[in-house]
Structure formats: structure tokens, C-alpha cells
């Protein structure tokens, strides 16, 4: 038994992803018919829909509140995207947010210097991420089971640390980061941070060998391993980074709400996963682009904001989101199935028979 998880555990049918459009993973798109194009259309639809139906849609408030309300999920979606691309999953992101929030609240309450408290909180994130990474890579456990376990545990530790207490009154210069715009722009800090992180992630994922390795691991872990990619180390690092980023989001959350509670961000993990999948990232791993996630975050974030302006409750918004998520996987899949059928039975199937499909 050389390697444990060869494929993602939750796929229903052993559908081996055909080796197509691998080469268009970078930004140079081969065809316009990609999921990202659909997301751009969705974004344009947002603008029309919002412009015509929501009062004061084209204002700085919209941009600011979309950033505030959606920024945290957006930031957590970035490390999640990389982990899903390797064929694993991290369900503990929101619980880590809660644990970080609780730890920071505890330290603040005990008069630890704010900056030191922040560093320590990020350290908590690193330890939590490392625990996930260790269990997944070194012990070789299925990541979904591990992170459901750490989800429960992180949230539980947050509860142990803070109980039902609520720490408030943080104040200080950091409050601006949580609640104000970046000076001179209409953007919330959370959105700015998301953009910077997205740029870094995008460059790493699409323009470095590490990024290519991440795709390779997701496509064929064993092959990646035998071609010299340090599969375990890369996965471990991804979990480590995910822990740190989520702890950082916990700090942002604390300053945004000016409260630290153990149940901060409860249930957000599924939102994060959903937003990544809506960005066209395959749950099997190995497919997708960071651009997709960015577009998905922006399109859905603004859509969310329109519905909020129109006083649609966030609970009701979930139905729209669910339908979008379903469409995002069913439509491309059906298109693929249709193309496969045409290739088999359609015109020209005789001439191409037997000729191996070369680089697309």
C-alpha cells in the first residue's frame, strides 16, 4: 500500500477526468466556453439586475458593504481552493475562525499586548493547520473525516477558552481595518486583503512549479509522487497556510464586530466550500483556476448585496445560492457528456477512430 488516498473519497462514479483543457489552466483561455465566462456573464447580470431594481445600487456603500459582508468568506475561500485542487478538503476553516476569535478575546481580556496577542493567535492557527496537515499527510487519514473532527474540536476549544463570555471593547487603531474603508478608496479592508492574497495565490498557483505540482497532485497523486513532487510536504504546507489565514480572518472578524465569541462564524465552512465549487473548481481535484474563484466571490458577493438591499433575508438567499451551485456542476458535466456522445456517435467518428487524442 504505497499511497493512501488515490482519488477523492466522495465521488459517486469513478469518472476519470479526461485530459482536456489542462493546458488552458493558466489565464490564456483556449476557448471562450469556459465556466469563467459564465461567471463574467453572471457578474454583468448582477450589474443590470442591481442597477434596475435596487435603489442606490451604484454607490460606494454597495461596494463597501459587499466587501465587509463577503470579505471574510472570500479570504477563506483562497486556501480552501488550493486544498480542494489537491483533491483534499478542509472543513475546519470556520471553526478555526472561531478558535482564533476566542483565543484573541481571551488574550485581550487578560491584558496581553495587542500585537503580541495577534501573533499568538496566528500561532494558534498555525498549530491547528499543522494538526490537520499532519493527520492527513503523515497518518494518512481521509481529509474529510479529519477536518470534521478538527472542526468539532476547534469549536469545542473555543468554547472551553471563552465559554459563553463575550469580550468587547477592542478599540484601538485596528478597528479601522475591521470597520472602515481603505483610505481614499470605497473598498473595505477585507476586500483589499482578499485582492492582495488572491494575487499572491494566483501567481503561486498558475506561474510557479509549486502551483503546477498542486494541479498534478489533484490529477494523479501517485503519478505526481513518482515524478518527484513532494506530495505530502505540499499538502502539509497548504493545511498550515489555511490554518494561519483562517486565524487571520478570525482577527478581522473580531475587529469587524468588535466582539469575540466562541461561536463566531458557525457554519461558514459549507459556504466557503460552496463558493469555491461555484468558481468551477472540481471537487475531484486538479481542475480549476484562481480566476474562477475570484469571479465567483465577486459575482456572488454582489448578488448577495443586491438581495440584502432588496431586503431579502439571508436565509432566503440560500435557495438562490443552492440552485447556482447545482447549475455550476450539472451544466458543465452535461456539456461534457454531450460532447463525449457526439464524439462517439456523431459525424466524423469513423475518421477519428483509433487515432489517439493528442494535445488538445
Amino acid at each position: 500500500m504505497p499511497l493512501v488516498a488515490i482519488s477523492s473519497p466522495l465521488e459517486s462514479n469513478e469518472e476519470v477526468p479526461a485530459p482536456l483543457d489542462r493546458h488552458s489552466l493558466a489565464f490564456g483561455a483556449h476557448s471562450l466556453v469556459r465556466w469563467e465566462s459564465a461567471l463574467v456573464l453572471f457578474f454583468i447580470f448582477d450589474l443590470f439586475y442591481g442597477g434596475f431594481t435596487a435603489p442606490d445600487f451604484f454607490s460606494q456603500n454597495t461596494i463597501f458593504f459587499a466587501g465587509i459582508n463577503f470579505g471574510l468568506i472570500a479570504i477563506m475561500a483562497l486556501p480552501e481552493m488550493l486544498i480542494i485542487t489537491t483533491g483534499e478538503i478542509d472543513l475546519s476553516v470556520a471553526a478555526m475562525l472561531g478558535l482564533s476569535c476566542a483565543s484573541f478575546g481571551y488574550l485581550f481580556e487578560h491584558h496581553v499586548e495587542v500585537f503580541l496577542a495577534m501573533i499568538l493567535t496566528l500561532g494558534v492557527g498555525a498549530v491547528g493547520g499543522a494538526l490537520n496537515g499532519f493527520l492527513v499527510t503523515r497518518v494518512g487519514l481521509p481529509s474529510i473525516a479529519v477536518t470534521i473532527g478538527t472542526l468539532t474540536m476547534f469549536r469545542g476549544l473555543a468554547e472551553v477558552i471563552l465559554g459563553t463570555n463575550e469580550v468587547t471593547g477592542f478599540g484601538g487603531p485596528w478597528t479601522d481595518v475591521g470597520t472602515n474603508t481603505i483610505p481614499g478608496t470605497p473598498f473595505a479592508w477585507a476586500f483589499g486583503i482578499f485582492v492582495v492574497l488572491a494575487l499572491i495565490y494566483g501567481v503561486v498557483l498558475h506561474f510557479t512549479s509549486t502551483g503546477r505540482s498542486i494541479f498534478a497532485i489533484g490529477l494523479q497523486e501517485e503519478a505526481a509522487f513518482f515524478s518527484g513532487i513532494r506530495v505530502k510536504r505540499i499538502k502539509f504546507n497548504l493545511y498550515l497556510i489555511s490554518g494561519i489565514v483562517c486565524a487571520f480572518v478570525g482577527l478581522l472578524y473580531t475587529y469587524e464586530t468588535n466582539t469575540a465569541r466562541y461561536d463566531a462564524g458557525t457554519g461558514l465552512e459549507l459556504n466557503v466550500v460552496a463558493i469555491v465549487l461555484f468558481g468551477g473548481i472540481s471537487i475531484f481535484g486538479g481542475r480549476g483556476s484562481l480566476l474562477g474563484v475570484v469571479l465567483s466571490v465577486i459575482a456572488v458577493g454582489i448578488f448577495d448585496q443586491i438581495l440584502s438591499i432588496k431586503n431579502v433575508s439571508s436565509q432566503e438567499q440560500s435557495i438562490v445560492f443552492g440552485i447556482l451551485l447545482l447549475a455550476s456542476v450539472v451544466l458543465p458535466n452535461s456539456a461534457r457528456g454531450y460532447r463525449a456522445l457526439r464524439k462517439r456517435f456523431g459525424p466524423g467518428s469513423y475518421t477519428s477512430a483509433g487515432v489517439p487524442e493528442s494535445t488538445v
Binding site: 477523492s8 466522495l10 438567499q317 451551485l325
Partner: protein
């Protein structure tokens, strides 16, 4: 020649026996842990050995036991159903709505409505999963949002009040039969029934075959799509039944009923030894896993440890059991391989 024949005929039996022993050992281990927790709690606080607190554990565990049974059927086929919490919620709400609007409501019809709603949700998910071949994690995640969204729209601001629920129906939630709460008897019977059929019926054994290797199962003539579809329908129906029991237990329901249950249900299965990769695990194990999670919760309250530790311990328990499973299965694989090579060497 005769040796080889013997090996060929006996090996599958042996494999089967090893698997059987393993799963039985697993169930016994959980029972042992439950008993140990029970004993420790009783020593610390003698009042715990009282019938009422055991009944309390049973009542608390009933919904998760029921959901874990359905979830096991799905996970065994290498799928997952994240929609159970939402399905439970919408079923509970619709049944409550039925009672509110019908003065002479029948309990039997209430059960049928609940199970029917659940079966419909499960069938929808199963259909999408099997027809489009989209991973069930994504489909059921989308279903989680859609079903909850529908529930929010029809149930916006509505709270089903206990006064609308007939007393005879509420009795399911608190009356006992031979000391066992009715609300626990129903899931226990379901678990025994499904557990027996997954052990003995060919069609249900095929679920394991699908989970072990979907491609091979298809080639071997197993109707994969039909079986997976069935698993989702059963899981949905049980979540619907869970909704009915939820209503009888709490007698009040709003649009948030059952939210957040899904990951706890998967956790119960994992603790109960159901492999998340599919292909192994028993319903009884998963049910015991659900009970174990609840008894921890209960005993912390009794022995005066802050109940805040509940989730932290549960999380640690999940990690320990999964690691332990990995260790056991590694040893079993090794043992089987050694046995096989030894036999071949002769």
C-alpha cells in the same frame, strides 16, 4: 493441485470472516467505551445510573441514530448526503403545518407526510447524482441550501406552537414502553432492520460492492445507479421520519430546525466505523457512534465538568477513532496478505 483449489475456495470466505470479525470488534469497542463512560459517570455521580438519565440519553440520541442509519447506507456506496439536516427541518415543519391546519389530523398521515417529503428530497438528490454523475458532495450541499431556502420562504416568521400539536402525537416524544422511550424504539427498530438487511440481502450487499469499487461493481452487473438512488431515497425518508420525531419531541418547530445536523451525522458514522471512502461499516456501528456522542454530552453535565468541553472531546474522539481504524485496517490488510502468500507458498 488440491491445495490451490482449497485456497481459491476458502480465501473469499476468510476475507469475509475477517471483515465480519473486524466490524463486530468495532461495535463491541464502542459498546465498551459507552459502558466505561457510563461507569465513570456513575461512580462520580451515583444518580446517573437512574432510569431517567438513561432515558434522557436515548431521547437525545434518537434523531442522530436515525439519521446515521440512512447516512451509512449512502456513505457505504462512496457517496455522502449533506442534506439530511435540511430535509429533517422541512419535514418537521410541514408535518407541524398539517397539524395546525387540520383539527382532526391523523397521526398515521402525519408520519406518511414526513416520510414522503423526505423520500421526495432524497429521490431528487439521488436522481441528479445518478443521472448527471455529479459528485454527491456537491449535489447534496446544494440541496442543503435549496431545501433550507424553501423552508425559509414557506416558514418565514412562522413558529408552529405546541398547542397545535395533538397530545397523542406528543406522547411519542415522552412516553415510554417497557422503560424505553418510544422516540428511541422507532430508530432502534429501523437500525436493526436496515442493519439486518445490509448484512443478509443481496441487493443491500451490493451497496458495499459499489463502495469498494464502483467500476468493478458496474462490470459485475450490479445496477449501480439504481442502488445508489435507493440509498439516497432511504436516507431522505429516514431524515423525513426524523422530522416527524423532532416535532413529537419538541412540539414546536421553526425554519431553523435541524440546521447544522449534517456534519454531526457524518461524524457519528465515522466514529461508528463507517469508512468515508465507502465499502465498509455497519449501520449498528453508526447508530452506536451517535449514541456515544450523546452520552458524552450527557455525562459531562452530570459529573460537573463544564459542558463546554463537550465538542472538544467529541472532536478528539473522532480523530482518535479514525486513526485507530487506519491502524486496524493496515494490520488486517497485512494479515490477509501474509495469509495469502503463505498459502500460495505451500
Amino acid at each position: 493441485m488440491s491445495v490451490t483449489e482449497e485456497v481459491i475456495t476458502s480465501e473469499p470466505v476468510k476475507t469475509h470472516r475477517v471483515a465480519e470479525t473486524l466490524s463486530r470488534a468495532r461495535e463491541l469497542a464502542i459498546v465498551a467505551v459507552i459502558l466505561v463512560i457510563f461507569a465513570i459517570t456513575t461512580i462520580k455521580s451515583p444518580g446517573f445510573a437512574h432510569l431517567t438519565s438513561i432515558q434522557q440519553v436515548m431521547t437525545n440520541a434518537s434523531l442522530f441514530t436515525l439519521l446515521a442509519v440512512g447516512e451509512t447506507m449512502v456513505i457505504v456506496t462512496r457517496n455522502v448526503d449533506l442534506s439530511v439536516g435540511s430535509t429533517l427541518g422541512i419535514s418537521a415543519f410541514l408535518v407541524g403545518d398539517y397539524f395546525t391546519h387540520n383539527a382532526h389530523a391523523s397521526i398515521v398521515i402525519a408520519f406518511l407526510i414526513g416520510i414522503g417529503v423526505g423520500a421526495f428530497c432524497g429521490a431528487a438528490i439521488g436522481l441528479i447524482v445518478t443521472v448527471t454523475k455529479v459528485p454527491s458532495l456537491v449535489v447534496s450541499l446544494a440541496a442543503l441550501y435549496i431545501i433550507r431556502g424553501i423552508l425559509n420562504i414557506i416558514g418565514l416568521g412562522i413558529q408552529i406552537e405546541p398547542t397545535a400539536i395533538p397530545l397523542s402525537f406528543q406522547k411519542i416524544g415522552f412516553e415510554t414502553f417497557a422503560g424505553i422511550p418510544w422516540i428511541f424504539i422507532i430508530p432502534a427498530l429501523v437500525a436493526l432492520g436496515v442493519g439486518f438487511s445490509m448484512r443478509s440481502f443481496r441487493s443491500m450487499r451490493e451497496l458495499y460492492a459499489i463502495g469498494s469499487n464502483p467500476g468493478a461493481a458496474q462490470l459485475a452487473g450490479v445496477p449501480v445507479a439504481r442502488r445508489v438512488f435507493t440509498a439516497f431515497v432511504v436516507s431522505g425518508s429516514l431524515a423525513g421520519l426524523g422530522g416527524v420525531l423532532f416535532l413529537s419531541e419538541f412540539a414546536t418547530v421553526n425554519a431553523t430546525a435541524g440546521s447544522g445536523y449534517e456534519l454531526l451525522v457524518v461524524a457519528s458514522c465515522v466514529i461508528g466505523g463507517v469508512a468515508i471512502f465507502g465499502g465498509s461499516g455497519t449501520v449498528i456501528g453508526a447508530a452506536l457512534g451517535a449514541i456515544l456522542l450523546q452520552i458524552i454530552n450527557q455525562s459531562l453535565v452530570v459529573i460537573n465538568v463544564s459542558p463546554f468541553w463537550d465538542s472538544a472531546l467529541a472532536g478528539a474522539l473522532i480523530l482518535v477513532t479514525v486513526s485507530f481504524d487506519r491502524l486496524l485496517s493496515n494490520r488486517a490488510t497485512l494479515a490477509l496478505r501474509l495469509k495469502g502468500s503463505a498459502a500460495r507458498g505451500n
